[in-house]
Symmetry: C2
Subunit: 369 residues, 2 copies
């Protein structure tokens, strides 16, 4: 079932970096003003694509020119980034974007000028190269700190090691920072769905209760706002193996927004959402209407604050929250004036969430879109 | 080599909770004013113990009385916590302190009074019970979100699963939130030392370079300020298997303070430091004198800010930083006016830290105490 993963080798990526430099060298030899063409990465060039149902970057581009006083520093820095990425790949190393910044930081010979004054100058240029060259930063061997865990009937190959996520005890398999098909091969998976859980403590409840075994699913936690790796892994399991994702979040604007990032992506990563967003995801809970449906005592709800109310208003205007079910849910939250955390279900009883709440929701197909 | 781990069973802990309640019931039957005796957990009762070389709680105690208007709410809440912990243990579940708070939150029948108005009311009472009953919170099946990773020749048993930290690929074994001997059995370990690394990205460098294999060690990262589990695991490896810890931190007041917490403990956890602190730990780096010793370009150092300078002054006054090597190091930092991050070593070359810096430090026995 599904699609075979596309492999992007280190050599492919190195070629893109070298071509970028070669292209500039050719422009210089021809006597042209050297320039790099980059997609525009601001809000004016980001849109919700109704066909793929994900956030996408539009096709506006701009030129970064060497012979332009407003561009020249960034032009120089962009070539330094491409050069350093090429070196990292040649060394077969993966590094953080902070390592990359330090590796490039130097005083330009014969001047008092620093190549970069801070990491805030190098990070956006990495994103420029990702967008311009149609690469994920993981393809460039750049990694972020991963936070996710997974348990269930999934076996992967990571380097020479075979890891079995049914045998990872109480902590689960720590999702690596780079889960690209070149690094992580999905050897086998047998699951009807993925339960994507916002909070570690709640994931722990599902793991301890062997929910994944009894219900033939995978349980994942992002431990808060998901890092790229958790989103990418879940997307691969959907695309390559047809496994749908159900999201279990706090019933508050922040939990619901995290869901929307998992499903259709974020504005800031619009240029990579074709490989991160997971548009068939569904929202299993919590919802505000659960309070009546499951007779949850009002004492464990939390009064909305001004920040929540402002966020609800913003979210109602996002195109991807325009579906009537979401408009109703957000209106109900405002009307009732409260939000609710996953841990609040412990007030019913410790195993209410694993033995009643989620099973009943799945049985009744009780999702938000 | 070393000591066998002490096992604290769930039944032992339940007995302590029930005894606490029974004791109160007996006082009531006798017509006494019911009271609970608790260690004083403020700065006046915390000291640095020169014999064990750890931070400890002194022997001052206070009474929490039922018939005292200033105590009665906390008295009631303390009994609720003991009762709920007993329930969690009876259910053979582990939960977060947030779950515990929600499970206890209710309106007291016949009143408008809430049992707890927020989690800030229940957390200190958990600490009171830990200190009074000589328990770690993990013994009460209360867990925090873990962040640590470990790789190297270590095999553990977690429930029915045997986990081999030589075969955990790029992400390492995720250190569970509860590493008490009742939960995690150390089946086998073969390592000359533990390299405790502050930052994940740096740990990743050591893991990718198979440093643990080439150098017969374990590599651990706490991913910032260590959670309890990483400290406890490293302490168990020291106490039960005689494996020393070398700490690799940023050369700044915060990195150095994290080291001191690993070594002698923290004031806020003084009541548990006999099972968390690891007083034989050594500081391998970074140091300010490394900049000259290893010819690190000045460009990658960072100017100290006012917060750093204030922190240096505070740290110089802590009893556990009074050793002359630390006084010299802190003076040198102030004199030079800069700090340095681990990632800055990438400026030398990507593998400088794994191939030159740490091996040379170990070879020359070049540690701070």
């Amino acid at each position: 079932m599904g699609k075979r993963p596309e492999i992007t080798t280190d050599k492919d990526v190195q070629k893109k970096m070298v071509d970028t430099g070669q292209n500039i060298a050719n422009q210089i030899k021809r006597g042209d003003n050297p320039a790099i063409t980059l997609p525009v990465r601001n809000l004016n060039n980001v849109y919700f694509d109704k066909e793929s149902k994900t956030i996408k970057l539009g096709d506006k581009t701009s030129q970064r020119q060497f012979l332009n006083i407003a561009h020249v520093r960034k032009f120089m820095q962009t070539t330094l980034v491409a050069n350093e990425v090429n070196k990292v790949l040649a060394e077969k190393a993966t590094v953080s974007i902070r390592d990359l910044y330090y590796a490039m930081k130097h005083t330009i010979p014969g001047t008092q000028e620093e190549s970069f004054s801070g990491q805030e100058e190098s990070d956006p240029l990495i994103e420029d190269l990702e967008a311009a060259l149609d690469l994920l930063r993981e393809n460039m061997n750049l990694i972020a700190t991963p936070k996710g865990r997974i348990a269930g009937n999934l076996q992967v190959k990571d380097g020479k090691d075979i890891i079995d996520a049914t045998k990872m005890g109480s902590s689960g398999w720590a999702i690596p920072s780079n889960v690209e098909p070149e690094k992580i091969e999905i050897k086998n998976v047998d699951a009807e769905y993925i339960l994507f859980i916002e909070k570690f403590a709640v994931w722990n409840r599902f793991n301890e209760d062997a929910f994944w075994k009894k219900n033939k699913c995978l349980i994942v936690t992002s431990n808060g706002q998901p890092a790229r790796a958790e989103r990418r892994l879940v997307q691969r399991l959907q695309v390559e193996h047809g496994i749908p994702t159900y999201c279990l979040m706090d019933a508050d604007p922040w939990g619901m927004y995290i869901y929307s990032v998992i499903k259709q992506g974020s504005i800031s990563l619009s240029y990579s959402e074709d490989r991160l967003a997971n548009p068939t995801s569904k929202y299993i809970g919590l919802t505000i209407s659960d309070v009546e449906k499951f007779k949850i005592p009002k004492e464990v709800t939390i009064k909305l604050n001004q920040g929540d109310l402002a966020r609800i208003k913003q979210m109602k205007d996002y195109e991807w929250f325009k579906k009537k079910e979401w408009q109703q849910e957000l209106d109900l939250m405002k009307e009732k004036g409260f939000k609710l955390e996953l841990e609040a279900l412990s007030r019913k009883r410790i195993r209410f969430i694993t033995e009643e709440y989620v099973p009943q929701k799945i049985k009744n197909n009780d999702f938000l879109p």
